[in-house]
């Protein structure tokens, strides 16, 4: 007792930990990644727009989010806003904080990927009559996606691990579950190691998906 891995406890805690993963970590990651990407696309287009106001707002947003710790943002939303009369539940608070984060980081990736598509593609599209929005949808974004997949996969994998910060505002995700089980048994090493392995498994699966996506999106590209 108290030394090394407690295999009995590993077996007993696996189901609750997996529940934390399936009901907490994974939905939190999935929801915030989807919302974050949508936000990021809007922010990227604002930054690329000719309007100084739009690009200024986008720039300020990215600067604030990237320039402050995610944990502090999380605390402001969950612990800070109630004192202004705005109380948001733990899970929604986490969704808001992580979405704002993904939105900022991914917007830079998307902006760069859009800029990586040659100007000739915009010109060619306009000569067959396309407007800007259609060009973006049909010509530019499909090509930008190929460029964006590796860096966006980084963002996604970071997000999986960052969701563990939500344990600090009592969202019952994987790390929180591990804490809950570890506290009465004092088996911190065992529980946190199992949690770490589960995070790694999720990230490993995601990187396999990433490789497949890269192969698929690269099928039209010259060597």
């Amino acid at each position: 007792m108290g030394e090394g891995i407690d295999w009995q406890l590993v077996g007993d805690s696996l189901v609750p930990l997996l529940m934390g993963l399936v009901h907490g970590t994974i939905p939190l990651t999935a929801i915030t990644f989807v919302l974050g990407l949508a936000l990021a696309l809007v922010v990227a287009l604002m930054r690329l727009s000719k309007s100084r106001v739009l690009s200024g707002v986008a720039r300020a947003y990215v600067s604030v989010i990237r320039g402050t710790p995610l944990l502090v943002q999380l605390f402001i939303i969950f612990y800070g806003l109630p004192s202004l009369g705005l109380t948001i539940g733990a899970f929604p608070s986490a969704v808001i904080a992580f979405t704002l984060n993904v939105g900022a980081y991914a917007s830079e990736v998307i902006r760069a990927s859009i800029l990586a598509v040659p100007r000739g593609q915009w010109e060619a599209a306009s000569t067959i009559g396309m407007d800007g929005f259609t060009t973006l949808r049909r010509v530019v974004l499909p090509q930008a996606t190929r460029v964006a997949v590796p860096p966006l996969s980084n963002t996604l994998i970071s997000l999986v691990k960052d969701t563990s910060l939500a344990s600090t505002i009592l969202v019952t995700e994987l790390l929180r579950k591990a804490q809950e089980i570890a506290a009465p048994t004092f088996q911190f090493f065992t529980l946190y190691t199992v949690a770490a392995i589960l995070y790694w498994v999720v990230c490993f699966v995601l990187s396999v998906v990433q490789s497949r996506a890269e192969v698929r999106l690269g099928r039209y590209v010259t060597s």
């Binding site: 000739g120 593609q121 306009s126 000569t127 067959i128 009559g129 499909p142």
Partner: protein, 265 residues
């Protein structure tokens, strides 16, 4: 019914009025004056070739015809669409002007994520909202015409440079323009691939297409052009029938340019 490909190839000839008219075109990039008052006209069903040294403004002049470059001043008219660039020009006017012409670029600019036939169908289906099946039939006929029907389902990177350029021509034809613009269509090609592209262009000329071509292919100009414009310093220095401008130029600058082009050493 504008279904047959043959129909596509025959823009209506409108009275005696030229299809294209350009008046006093002016354009500068910062301090660099690329166009200093350029005038020319292109009669319907004729081929105009623009030649000139690099920096002469020939590509810029061509790109003003579909407003890929917006000149500071001057009037461009293609068919019934006349745009005075001295006044502010809104997006819709630009799009109307642009829709009059099909454009073939020096480096094809095919959409790399679409197959050959998808490239050709994109304008008709996505922009012009034509029925997919009909657009497919028309696209195949166009690919047949440029000799690439068997490549329909390949991606652009699987083709040679000459084939890519011919797909580019088919894509431009597919939107049924009044006018075809070619911006140095063979300059980026290996020498042995130039002929197949020029052959397609000659074919289009024979079918009565109105074409404006920027090229260094003097023999193409001699054989196909109805009018040759020699540009230098942002103005038309000399213009006329190819036999005159290319073989018996009046202007010393034209003579000098041709001499260097035909005998570079």
């Amino acid at each position: 019914m504008s279904t047959s490909v043959e129909h596509v190839g025959r823009p209506a000839t409108g009275g005696g009025r030229p299809l294209v008219e350009v008046r006093d075109l002016r354009k500068s990039f910062g301090e660099l004056h690329v166009l200093r008052g350029m005038d020319f006209a292109v009669p319907s069903g004729s081929v105009t070739v623009l030649i000139g040294p690099s920096g002469s403004g020939k590509t810029t002049a061509l790109r003003c015809l579909n407003a890929l470059e917006v000149p500071e001043a001057g009037v461009v008219r293609v068919a019934d669409c006349e745009v005075d660039f001295a006044r502010p020009v809104d997006k819709r006017t630009v799009r109307t002007l642009r829709s009059q012409s099909g454009m073939v670029f020096q480096s094809h600019h095919l959409f790399p994520h679409m197959t050959v036939i998808q490239n050709v169908m994109e304008g008709p289906v996505t922009v012009q909202r034509r029925a997919r099946e009909q657009a497919r039939t028309d696209a195949l006929a166009l690919l047949e015409r440029v000799g690439l029907a068997d490549k329909a389902d390949q991606f652009p990177f699987q083709l040679s440079g000459g084939q890519q350029q011919r797909v580019g021509i088919a894509r431009a034809l597919a939107i049924q323009p009044r006018l075809m613009l070619f911006d140095e269509p063979t300059s980026a090609l290996d020498p042995e691939l130039v002929g197949e592209v020029l052959a397609v262009m000659k074919d289009l000329a024979d079918q009565g297409w109105t074409m404006v071509v920027v090229t260094h292919e003097i023999r193409f100009a001699q054989g196909v052009a109805d009018q040759v414009l020699f540009l230098d310093g942002g103005v038309v220095v000399e213009r006329g029938a190819p036999a005159q401008v290319l073989t018996d130029p009046r202007e010393p600058r034209t003579r000098q340019f041709l001499h260097r082009l035909l005998d570079p050493l």
